[in-house]
């Protein structure tokens, strides 16, 4: 028997999984921040742009689908966070506009801006988008200042705002930058994206000069990633969390709530550990064995599992996944912010098609990437290059 609660959990899992896949695919953004440091010559830079350019649309599409899925399954989050933390989301969007055109336009004649300008756009996207997405996700654990009062919509005098979700800080999201823990996850995501990008390049490139620099780049990015990530995780696990009393639905602060979630839901703990081990294995083996190219698969799958689990820890086991520090009882849970049973059921049926989508993406990628990519490839007749 499919219950409403099951569907709410199922959809929070799917949204978290999309979040995990997005975190993995942010290697494209990470790679964009390496364009100037990893490549020394124009040909090398074009090579990096071209290998990343075959993937940027997947990151973009995943972000759009992540937004669409969140809208459809947890509309109160969509209305509260996007309409409230306005500046953070607008900045993220601006970064992605820059990215969308930069691959296609940068080497086309008549492109108005210089090639370098488009690469700077890519760098800005890589830097800001990863950091801001990380900081925004950190607020799932640290909280934001908003209130939700559904009765506001009955204000019809034309004097008072009828808006249900009100952001209670005039900085509209930028105040998240005053919280060190948000910075930690922001930097962790930024360096994770760069680390994954190095592993991706190691897998895809056929260029001795760039490959010789990957070893050092891996160390320089993986180390800060691990420092920031561990600092965030340890701090979060031992900090107070936003718990929900199962019967009264009252939100209250519980010491070590997120650690308790891992302990009380062992499958989450197991997944989290598996994810972290896979990421570490992918990084360490790639570092130790220069010829080994498969690190991206281990670290990538590990990233998906770890991030998915982290998001589940924020929302499962009677936890408010989008907490309000202004008014605890306005905090969003998977129960009070979700779509109706009917809508979740309809979308769950549609979600059965996801495996088919995954299969054709797999076959399409495989057909394009049987071999590694060299500079010569995109100079060939009939080839399409950025």
């Amino acid at each position: 028997m499919i219950t409403y609660s099951f569907l709410q959990h199922y959809w929070f899992f799917l949204v978290s999984l999309l979040g995990g896949i997005l975190a993995f695919l942010l290697f494209v953004q990470g790679g964009q921040t390496l364009l100037f440091s990893l490549a020394k010559k124009e040909d090398e830079r074009r090579l990096l742009v071209n290998v990343l350019g075959k993937k940027w649309e997947f990151t973009f599409t995943t972000l759009v689908t992540f937004g669409g899925a969140f809208f459809a399954s947890f509309p109160l989050f969509y209305s509260t966070s996007f309409g409230g933390a306005y500046w953070v989301w607008v900045l993220i969007l601006l970064c992605f506009i820059l990215q969308a055109v930069s691959y296609e336009f940068q080497n086309k004649p008549g492109h108005f801006f210089s090639t370098n300008t488009y690469r700077i756009f890519l760098f800005i996207n890589g830097l800001l988008a990863t950091f801001l997405i990380g900081a925004a996700i950190a607020t799932f654990f640290t909280g934001s200042e908003f209130s939700v009062n559904k009765q506001n919509i009955t204000e019809i005098g034309g004097q008072l705002s009828p808006v249900i979700s009100q952001w209670e800080n005039p900085l509209h999201g930028l105040e998240a930058l005053f919280n060190v823990r948000n910075w930690l996850l922001g930097f962790a995501v930024f360096f994770l994206a760069r680390t994954l990008a190095v592993l991706f390049f190691k897998n895809r490139l056929d260029n001795a000069a760039i490959e010789s620099r990957l070893h050092n780049a891996l160390l320089m990015n993986a180390l800060p990633f691990l420092v920031f990530f561990l600092a965030f995780v340890i701090w979060t696990l031992f900090a107070q969390g936003f718990a929900v009393e199962p019967v009264t639905k009252e939100v209250f602060m519980e010491p070590m709530k997120y650690l308790n979630n891992l302990i009380q839901v062992p499958v989450l703990l197991l997944l989290f550990l598996v994810g972290v081990v896979l990421v570490l294995f992918g990084i360490i083996k790639s570092f130790l064995k220069d010829k080994w190219r498969k690190g991206i698969w281990f670290a990538g799958i590990g990233t998906i599992i770890t991030v998915t689990t982290l998001l589940l820890v924020a929302g499962y086991n009677n936890t408010a996944y989008y907490p309000s520090t202004y008014d605890l009882q306005s905090s969003l849970t998977i129960f009070n912010s979700s779509s109706s049973f009917f809508t979740l059921k309809v979308m769950s049926i549609v979600s059965l098609l996801i495996p088919f989508v995954v299969v054709y993406i797999f076959f399409a990628w495989r057909s394009l990437e049987k071999t590694t990519t060299s500079i010569e490839e995109f100079k060939e007749k009939d080839s399409y290059g950025y």
Partner: protein, 516 residues
């Protein structure tokens, strides 16, 4: 609670409209060019003739430039529902969000996956596999259009839902009603075929330029032939679906129809204005001033288009505000604005009392208030309006947009027919006037698309959701200055990227397929 800032509503609308208009500069060309390039590649695969491959690849390059910026503006539109229309996102997110999520899963990934093969797969996959990827790319784009137009159609005709006072939102109860809405089906075909027409005009215009410059002669002739046939068929389909749109508007959004025709006083056997001018002296719906100063009218045609009956009564703006009429669709006497407003207020107050009763756990009172709410819910949105004038969209904007769009549609039919005749007689190069007209028809195609969306969206005002939620109750609670800043940020960015896009396209066209 914050005070309501009226200018915030205007700026939020301006930002969304600006983003949507930029988005619609790129999407229709993508939708149409995608089909045309797939047809050309199909001919290449069937005949093995390299020139068709060259032609397909050239249009694919133009497609790619256009596609990238369409993607960039599209993501902003999706997220603006949340950033600027927060109340809307909660109030109808249960219905509206689903098509967006399904669009992501079913359409965007298809597009993103197969476009990679379309561009990078020429030397890596078989001919057949490549052709399939080209068709699947445009299939993804078209399926994407389907879902977003389903969502938009639902804003014009909210079906398959009921209001739940416990959650204070509308909830979906019938998915097939949402997907199969007659407005959705019509809107999908109308919008997609408008993209096909634009692409046909684009290909014809660019090819005409080559002929005027006496270069790429064979390529240009081939392209004109395919595009003119495609364009003529598409424009005829566009007229057919346009007729369907008029019928749906008459049935579901009579105020929009009245604004489209500048019809203030309804009548039986209402004529359709073919060409006309509004009277600028007309200030109020009930000031007695004649609304149209000069017009060529087709007798009884509006009645026929709207109700499939030459003598049907078509209500005007004043009738819709004052009520007291009947139509062939609804034999009940229409109620005036004042009553709609009072029933809207009754619905909102019932909701307020329902929440009070819910808090007090008074189930009897909850049931009473729910009954009052259900009874008056069809007019819920009117409770937010103060004056009758607020229920009337901007008539001149809708009127002129509609008539210009229709005129352009018929001009396109004539153009494609003439092009086909001249092309068949092998006299294209000799008729330079026709080539110049074709070239200058490209911006007209863009204009027609924009005008169509102005009719659809401005004509729906003041509603975000027809009769259920006006725009002032749909917004986010933000400082107006924030939205002003982001408006100009987006405007500058989109304009800069548009300039870059046009620059690249012109260069690609100047280079031509031979050097592509």
């Amino acid at each position: 609670m914050e005070l309501l800032d009226v200018s915030l509503v205007d700026w939020s609308r301006a930002q969304f409209a600006m983003t949507a208009m930029y988005h619609w500069l790129f999407v229709p060309l993508t939708l149409g060019l995608g089909v045309l390039q797939a047809i050309m590649e199909t001919i290449y695969v069937k005949t093995g003739k390299e020139e068709w491959k060259k032609a397909a690849k050239f249009w694919m390059t133009v497609f790619g430039i256009n596609f990238a910026i369409g993607v960039a503006t599209g993501i902003i539109l999706e997220f603006q529902f949340g950033t600027n229309w927060s109340n809307y996102s909660w109030f109808v997110g249960d219905i509206f969000g689903a098509p967006l999520a399904i669009e992501g899963v079913l359409a965007f990934f298809m597009e993103a996956t197969f476009i990679s093969i379309m561009y990078f797969g020429w030397n890596k996959v078989s001919k057949g596999w490549h052709l399939a990827a080209t068709w699947l790319t445009i299939a993804g784009a078209t399926i994407s259009a389907l879902w977003i137009l389903v969502a938009n159609a639902w804003m014009q005709l909210p079906l398959g839902m009921e209001f739940n006072p416990a959650t204070v939102r509308n909830e979906m109860i019938d998915f097939w009603s949402v997907l199969g809405s007659p407005v959705a089906i019509n809107k999908f075909f109308h919008a997609v075929t408008s993209g096909w027409v634009l692409a046909a005009l684009f290909v014809v215009g660019v090819s005409s330029w080559y002929l005027l410059k006496k270069r790429e002669i064979e390529f240009a002739k081939r392209s004109i032939k395919v595009a003119a046939i495609f364009g003529l068929i598409s424009t005829l389909l566009l007229v057919y679906t346009g007729d369907g749109s008029s019928y749906q508007v008459a049935q579901q959004q009579p105020m929009k129809l009245a604004a489209m025709e500048g019809l203030y006083k309804g009548q039986n056997g209402a004529p359709l204005i073919a060409i006309g001018f509004l009277n600028p002296a007309k200030q109020k719906y009930n000031d007695g001033v004649e609304p149209v100063v000069a017009a060529i009218k087709i007798p009884k045609m509006l009645s026929f288009l709207g109700y499939r009956d030459f003598n049907a009564f078509v209500p005007g703006i004043a009738d819709l505000i004052d009520g007291g009429y009947t139509t062939t669709k609804d034999t009940a006497v229409a109620i005036p604005f004042a009553e709609k407003k009072s029933r809207g207020i009754a619905a909102i107050n019932a909701l307020k009392q329902y929440k009070v009763a819910e808090k007090a756990k008074d189930s009897t009172a909850m049931a009473t208030q729910k009954a009052a709410l259900d009874k008056n819910f069809p007019y819920f949105g009117y409770g937010y309006l103060n004056q009758p004038e607020e229920a009337i969209p901007n008539v001149p904007m809708v009127f002129y947009s509609f008539h210009l769009m229709v005129l352009l549609g018929f001009f396109f039919i004539a153009l494609f027919i003439v092009l086909l005749i001249v092309s068949n007689k092998q006299k294209l190069e000799k008729n330079k006037w026709l080539l110049w007209i074709s070239l200058w028809s490209i911006p007209l195609g863009y204009l027609a698309g924009q005008l169509g969306w102005i009719v659809a969206e401005v004509g729906r005002q003041p509603w975000a959701i027809q009769d259920v939620l006006p725009v002032q109750a749909a917004i986010s609670s933000l400082q107006t200055s924030s939205v002003q800043i982001t408006f100009f940020l987006f405007l500058v960015l989109f304009t800069a990227l548009l300039i870059a896009e046009v620059g690249i396209m012109l260069k690609q066209i100047k280079k031509g397929p031979a050097h592509n």
